[in-house]
Symmetry: C2
Subunit: 393 residues, 2 copies
Amino acid sequence: MKHIAILGFGVVGGGVASLLQNNKKEIEALLGEEVSVDYILDLREFPDSPYANRVVHDFNIILNSDVDTVIEAMGGSHPAYEYTVAALKARKNVITSNKEVVSLYLDEFLMLAEENDVVYRFEASVGGGIPVISPLISLLRHNKIREVRGILNGTTNYILTKMFSFGESFEHALADAQRRGYAERIPDADVLGTDAARKISILASLVHGSLVDVNTIYTEGITKIRGEDIARLSACHHSVKLVGRALFGEEMTVFVSPHAVPHNCPLSHVDGVYNAIEVVGEPVGNVMFYGQGAGAGATASAMVSDLMVTYLEGRCYAIPRVRDKAVPASFRELPSRFYIVIKQGTMSDAPNTFMKIEETENEVAYFTDYITLDALQELTKHAEMLTILPILE
Amino acid sequence: MKHIAILGFGVVGGGVASLLQNNKKEIEALLGEEVSVDYILDLREFPDSPYANRVVHDFNIILNSDVDTVIEAMGGSHPAYEYTVAALKARKNVITSNKEVVSLYLDEFLMLAEENDVVYRFEASVGGGIPVISPLISLLRHNKIREVRGILNGTTNYILTKMFSFGESFEHALADAQRRGYAERIPDADVLGTDAARKISILASLVHGSLVDVNTIYTEGITKIRGEDIARLSACHHSVKLVGRALFGEEMTVFVSPHAVPHNCPLSHVDGVYNAIEVVGEPVGNVMFYGQGAGAGATASAMVSDLMVTYLEGRCYAIPRVRDKAVPASFRELPSRFYIVIKQGTMSDAPNTFMKIEETENEVAYFTDYITLDALQELTKHAEMLTILPILE
């Protein structure tokens, strides 16, 4: 019999328990043995749950038990970090959905897992139920990865989709997302781009082989996006999407920013709470993975998937080394095309590398030629800039 | 050292050799040993190739050699079937891109691989470079799969995209695809839906656990699609796409047909030679895999990916059993909504379950309510039907 413990009995932890229960027969047939949820660690009690008598409040009980695999679904960096380290050192496999702790300590966890001959997996930390970590690892073994980019946060994508479809302001769309439970009461981690930055840093780290410190990533959220820009860009066949990108050229550049995404890019059609991750590699070309990036069911599916792989394939699953730290090059130095809007009358003559797309009483909108953000801001320093968005190619 | 043989030195087989050569260093670092292409089986000679001296014309040389893994990139059912059986019985792993032989004999190959303690993998047989077989296997272990559906043939998708974008007729778009090398001179396997049928039968077989005989699948190609229908449906926010579908309810239904695909379905935006496969499961929701469905580089990427997994994970990779044969239920009995066009004046009064969307001098177009194809054809048997397309939900 296999023995697991679930840390955190919220929607994700509860979802894992249900999924194991609902697929008991299939899982036993596959593994040839039963998977028993021996312990659930949570601060609360769950007197009405069928797992009521397995709830514990002291992690040491789990550490000193027969549990072979710990499912970490608590979120936050601490004590998730300490529990993960302790579990790996006690030769227990660890499976997590916690992007915060993965983005900060992936290098250390992979090293500890290797040293202790156990498995550390984190498929659910990016893209919820979408299989993306495993296929990316498989692709990067023999492809030259040029770029990984994605719509990594369902809350902001829902807000942008609402703004687009109903011409709503950011504030209205956010309030709607909060009413529906898609956005938290304090929505900063989503709308400021922090959540997307954590996820792109995980993907970048896997490709680069060094941990990309999330704090070094240029991160711009969606709070400054205006309804006017979404409408105008839509008329020019572009969507506005919050995109996390990791580009691998001579240097690695990693950043998160709202982008104008042309309608011929598949990412432009990813709407609502859906996520999508696109990998551009040589020779595979463009490959995209799409699905529900959050939610109890989807995230639990990814964690149980990791659990099955852990039991079926054990140590022989090869995760690339992620060692040392890397500081990516600055987005400010990356030549890009931009959509910009300048307040009417504040720029006397636009350079001829700017293509005017609309002029109103109040503002003038342009598409620029390739230019770095630094050079663009220098060039327009005397003008009043209302909007500035890189264009996805 | 690992020893492989490549059967068929066309674009795919040649692509595998190049990819192994170009990633020699990375592959050696990953495996801890070299991969040597010992033999290439082809009827032709390649005097100018660096592999000239490894070309053989007799499969028995490979069978009796130290080769541990055979890369089958020859296509067609015979002798690919006989060579695969012989290789597996000689305890050699087999990796293939040949959808024809996989769709016909997958059950037998998996059984032989198990009996002989070797690996049989076929990621490249569906979706070219897109990782789809492995993620599907991973998902179906603990999800209730409701449907697998996809745009599985790049040639027909290119033709439909051309017809849509440039208002071209089927004949013109086909001629253009042939000029560009996307369509064969005899394009039947693509345009009649046979290629898509083979691929959906492979995906259906994996989910169902029994081999779905491709000859029992309702298969309708794109030769009857009219430019008028594409234009009219586009105005109603639908694309026309050739979709292979496998639905798993009380019965399994598998079929290939052009569909009217609403613009809010992600498959509607898959254009040109791209492929996409969507999996609908509980609890994971809708997950889609998108990328280049063909071409030397993409297909070779999938085959080398299989080779790496074979060497890294060996026997412990769990492919579900696919045993016995299954005959899917008939698409004719599956209730669906339809787009239909009836010649003007040939149906006196339309049922009130038909919603008229356009009427011209020559024809009347409707969206129907849910109805089976059989019942629809009975209901309209006195009318002259110009077009009939199921609508994707």
